[in-house]
Point group: D2
Chain length 488, copies 4
């Protein structure tokens, strides 16, 4: 398949045209046009890559085939590769060029458990209980790479100075992959980071996302026969129950839009034995990473209180943590313009039929228009009180000026982490949306290379946003990436 | 010892009648001697059977090989077999003789999960995580059958009138096998029931055991994304937590020696999803089945209250229930005398070595003497405030006069439901203890056949004990035996 | 400032209509000037009245002297009085004129327990533990009456048709006084309602406030000696504890900005007696009265669940309930203009000294400028996620188009329900702020009389806001006003 | 009756010694007769005293008139008085004689709140809500003094060597008065302590009573407006709720017959304020003071855990603590014989009528026979699993050999701490029962003075009972008697 694509590259003459058009003293408009064309020219190959990763559907830290495919493709495209960075076997850095400025595009490629799904508009797992790309990361990793390759070709053609990198970042879904990469110092020399994420509409991501910290709280007590000698037992389940109660009583006394949610992952083995082991898996979220650190300390106190109350001990392990995203209005302004310049896409009739069939499964009272894929949302800062999810892009945004895009890869009305999202991500709808993202990323990256004032403005805005704040993660210093965080 | 008993016989009221009646064709002494010899003569075979069942180590309702072996052996010995009674595939009735009186000996043969263990004095599973005879039911079923076969041969030899039955009763360990047999009416024409149970000392079982009722409480709520829309969720786990809380608040307000213990068997799947399913497995116990019925109603109210509080629904399934044992002093007096007549057994030197090695693993401050296997405990009614376990023999004792024995099949100091008990049950120690039980059962059965006054006295005592009480079980009428109560 | 408004008048749509309509006999400008002058002319007297009510400091439904004073003053000014309406001894209707339109100005005059305070900038109660005007209702009732008297004089002078009423509304602080007045039908023929509230800044109140429902949940159990026979007791305190727990578990599953808070007002009498009586006083709030009705039903279920769990019964009494305020943008636009036309006030040097001394007691890091009393907040709809309080004006706004003002009667930085607010309300600062409110109310009332289009626009906006919504109160139909809701 | 006892004396070991020793100057029979006559002779006066104290009905530590009256009477009778001992204004030591041995008789005289009651067989308080002698301590203090006075006269008459003391011990009902007297060292030189208590039957008190510890747990948090800023509050009520929950979860894991019971004495002031103060009043009991110390430590941990969980602090104050009573079989044997020698009393017809009327108010299914007042219960050690109350006599019994009596001062069927008990204690029924106690105390005291072997046997038994045990109280060393423990 690679052969065919390269052959096409040579015949289709696109590359030659790009080189010619890329004159040193060209206008920004021309530059945008040139790199957008390069995205278009490379898109067929990367749509194909996105479909392969969709088929692999590998879980966090075990994205072996997906990571290898992306690495091979980027190497073929002229990037040098460093793999297995930050103690993460599937993380990698693909690099092109040298010196300043350093611009990074982030790519993710992990799937979600239980969301295995064929590319059809009804629930139909490929593998019962298997994993699936319910968050569209097959598109994310491929689309980001498509942008990187196009920009690289543009840099080549126009002798642009500086370093372009693609970071292959594993285990976004609960593994906090990027946090270890931040800790490793991989963002120290970076000027600006770009990212994107699949969604059901086109918009700029300027901040938002909830900071999240998660852990397993394991209580250890003393087993005893629950009928013969309950007084000799110290129940780890009692501790779990009281920790749960403690969390509930905390809810009134945390800021609005805080989230604390948990399951009891180990609740005893047999009802006639006082449990000596019980476990609660808890996540806490807040619009502010700083606020979350305080809340997390209080949650730890709740767990210690529960242990003290029950004569048990508590162990906190498997800590995951993502920060909220620090917005950057200087970058956002350019990003918004570029996204509007790129525009959305129009579904084919066949795609519309698929979309309508899929929408029927959503149980919504009013269905969003399919026109949404064509439109760009007006710019607005995210409402801190709005419901939201979390991402480890957050941590990156605390150490480098960062900007991102959402594009309409899911049928309008489809939420992330659903089989409908997985289905969308395996179709041309997802791939069309992906190309919109790739172009928006590419245009903005080119702007960043060509425009030192923009980089300065981004830096200034970054400093302003973080004035008086310190980046912290709840992941303990010594903790290695939790390769088997989803169980072996 | 016999001498002493005969002397006593004159003073001791009821037993005087027994002695006189037994002397119709022969003296009671001769009868006892004869049947005791028959037990001895058959013992080698049944020790072997006990070892085979120990090897099978089959869980409740799945004792296919164990039940088949016992049936085959009893058929060979001249019993007619009816298998699969009371909707229980492994339950059976082995019958000999006809007409009144009808005397039943109970046999159990189910193993316990996780207690797989070789017959060695250190923790060594045959199969990691496998089942094992930690309650010695391999001995129980075989020893009861040994008694039945000896009595049958005695009846043959002495032309004794009446019906002798052996009931193969599955799933004593949590499956309430006998309760369904009671419900089926299998005890309707029975005059007296005899049973025994492995222990670490020799004594008569005259009442005791805690009535128990158990069930799974499954709550159904509404799932929702715990970060995006927790207000749309109705948490089944919240209901489980509140049911747990409710049970804890009940503890102060139930009679002393009530037991309520539970685990959380399903506590949610992923911490970022409001659980729509959660489950608590609960057992409640009381020295009185009548009191327990009241407590159980209150527990059901707690579960309904938890559902009401959380906007969820609750389903109560997999209900198991054993009554407490109704004592019978008329039978107990004879049983005590017979057990004293039989006497205990003396360990060989090799057995003593094994016993001492095993005792070292018990972590006890003071080790009970190995002489305990030789001794018979003085008779006493059980203390209702003493810690105790439960058995489905209880339900039988509410519908027929019932008496039982414990014999020293476990190394002194070893508790039931431990790997040490499983190890003991696979050795000649267990088998020696079993033969003590078989003899005590056989002597008492012979007394019951030969002595109508004893049967009358048993009936009168039964009526007195149950005056004003009604037998009830919490198992719902339509519920079939829970063949897969331990999961498939 | 008037000039600016008239200039604006031409551009501002609705106000243009107002201006034209007001110009029947005179220009709107003249009308405003005339009535503002009338406010000024009457202000000395009503400042005095406000101080007397401040001295009375009477609690809800017991505002006998305050209500009598206001009635006497309004009667003197030419209003006819109907007192003791809606089963509330201190409620009254003061009426002037006849026929349509009917415009109502609301007045409150109840104090708060524990906030007795002298008009000095340090904590100094007049009566230790006594009541005080910590919410400035002495100003509220007087300022509203001042506006009514001025408008009445204006109507007289200009032969304005229609009915002007002042509603004396008791027990706003937790007594839901106006809800009973709504129920009585006192607002049935009313076209528009105006109100105001003391604050530390000048702004229009267009919606906002949290709907609230409150009640006492009294559990009845069975007493028993807690040491001798706890099993015979059914603890009402257990029910209270479990109801509390149930509320805590609910918190995760209600919409953001819901509030549920409670105290335990009766928690048992002696620790050695199982409590047969226990009580929880609970309030629930939500930005939406409709949402709150659902939440309240769930809270009732929690209480029933707690009773079911504990074998107790629950009684729900002393129900109070205020709805959220339904905004009216048509009225708000005019109100904002009028408030801007009136402008704020400037503190004297002496007042500034008092204000600065008082601010020192607030423990704030940054102190708000004293210039705030001069400024008018730009118009904005309230954020439903912002923290807020509750008011029974809400219920009125569900049945009649309603608009209100806040004015700077408290020293900037001072919150309601503090001794600092009580102190402010007893000084010329409070009185100056009151006159601002009186003028804004008077101007808007005059506009409403003179401008039928404005009344129509208000009616249309009202219909739009309530489309698909139904007014409901949680106060049961048969419940009379809780005259002694604060205890006897 | 003496005859029977002497016959027994030959078989009964210790008592043989007692009998012989008592016969030094006179026969034991004569001595007993003599002192019993002295009790009889003094009884009219002390019945009168008991009635006066019944009228006073003073609460613990405030028994000013009652204590003064007893002191005056004992002084008149020839005792020297030291009052206000152990920092307790109403405690006193009345002493007669000198040197060894030292025998102490304990007297109590505090009433109970809310049990004011006339001496009539229907509920009729003297003072609504007032205190009353629902535990019969008016009889207790007077009857003990009557015994002391009679023994003193006997000693005078017979030149008995040694010291006789009466300890006036206040605040038995929850004030732990005697614990402070123990701490003060007032029992250091004492050989034997005697006591008695009103009841509805006649028996020896040889051990029993539950050890108890009680305290107020006050939590301090941070107040905040519950609607405007609940996140800034740290709720002391949450801490109370979680402490309660923690206690409930502990119940399963404490030995049988442990008691833990509590009320919430402060549960917040207004539901719209996050409570910064909340309080739980808790009592814990156990048949063993040693076990209770462990449980108390765990309860303290529960309170600390609750504080940790909620960001609050906890203060433990007002600690009361009584130990269980250490039995003394050597003394009990003699006490039993003496009580049998004294015998009960027979009610007059009028008394029987009163008794029957009172019994009708008890709501009992079967009424105990009025003959019970004539009978003496056979001796038995108390069942540790039986329900029981607590007394500060317990602490005395841990430091000196102690023995006591119950006599039938309450109408049979009447429980302590009821209005029926208060009524009984004000009639001749109570006074007749008191005289039985006085005689039993007097006989035993005389035996103790005359019989050194009995004192030695008591000492030996005391040592045996406490082998391996250490006396501890949970009352902190620096804590003074809580004079206002019932509130001011």
């Amino acid at each position: 398949m690679m052969k065919k694509i390269l052959q096409c590259g040579l015949k289709c003459g696109v590359f030659a045209g790009v080189a010619l058009a890329a004159a040193q003293g060209q206008t920004a408009k021309d530059a945008h046009q040139q790199v957008a064309n390069l995205v278009e020219a490379n898109s067929a190959n990367w749509k194909q890559v996105s479909k392969q990763i969709w088929d692999f559907a590998e879980l966090g830290y075990h994205e072996n085939k997906s990571s290898a495919l992306l690495q091979a493709q980027l190497k073929d495209a002229g990037f040098s590769i460093k793999s297995g960075v930050a103690d993460e076997p599937t993380a990698f850095v693909a690099s092109y060029g040298e010196g300043k400025p350093v611009i990074v595009i982030l790519g993710e490629f992990d799937a979600l458990p239980g969301l295995s799904q064929k590319a059809v508009p009804e629930r139909a797992p490929v593998t019962q209980g298997g994993a699936g790309h319910g968050c569209g990361h097959n598109l994310l990793g491929s689309g980001a790479a498509l942008a990187a390759v196009a920009v690289k070709q543009y840099m080549d053609a126009n002798h642009v100075k500086g370093t372009l990198r693609y970071y292959g970042t594993p285990a976004e879904e609960g593994g906090s992959g990027k946090v270890y990469m931040v800790r490793e110092g991989l963002f120290k020399d970076v000027d600006v980071v770009l990212h994107w994420h699949p969604a059901d509409k086109n918009s700029v991501i300027d901040g938002g996302a909830l900071a999240v910290t998660s852990a397993k709280f394991t209580f250890h007590g003393v087993a005893a026969h629950a009928s013969m000698a309950p007084d000799r037992g110290r129940s780890a389940l009692d501790a779990v129950m009281l920790m749960g109660n403690g969390i509930e009583f905390m809810r009134e006394h945390v800021p609005s839009n805080t989230r604390m949610h948990y399951i009891i992952s180990k609740g005893g083995v047999a009802p006639n034995v006082v449990p000596d082991l019980a476990q609660i898996d808890l996540m806490a979220r807040s619009p502010s990473n700083t606020t979350l650190q305080d809340i997390w300390k209080r949650i730890l106190d709740v767990s210690k209180g529960a242990a003290l109350m029950t004569g048990t001990t508590v162990e906190v392990t498997d800590i995951g943590s993502d920060a909220d995203i620090i917005g950057n209005d200087a970058l956002a302004q350019v990003a918004q313009k570029n996204l509007e310049e790129v525009g959305g896409y129009t579904m084919s009739e066949e795609e519309q039929k698929f979309a309508r069939d899929l929408q029927k499964t959503l149980g919504l009272d009013t269905l969003p228009s399919l026109e949404l894929t064509k439109e760009i949302e007006p710019f607005h800062r995210p409402d801190p009180n709005a419901p939201s999810a979390s991402t480890d892009v957050g941590d990156v945004s605390w150490v480098v000026p960062t900007i991102g895009f959402s594009t309409a890869t899911f049928v309008p009305g489809v939420a992330a982490h659903t089989w409908q999202a997985a289905a969308s991500a395996g179709t041309s709808i997802g791939q069309d949306g992906m190309v919109v993202a790739s172009k928006a990323l590419a245009l903005t990256t080119v702007d960043l290379f060509s425009n030192p004032q923009l980089r300065e403005a981004a830096k200034a805005d970054f400093a302003k946003e973080l004035a008086g704040k310190t980046y912290r993660t709840s992941i303990p210093e010594g903790q290695k990436p939790l390769i088997d965080y989803r169980g072996k």
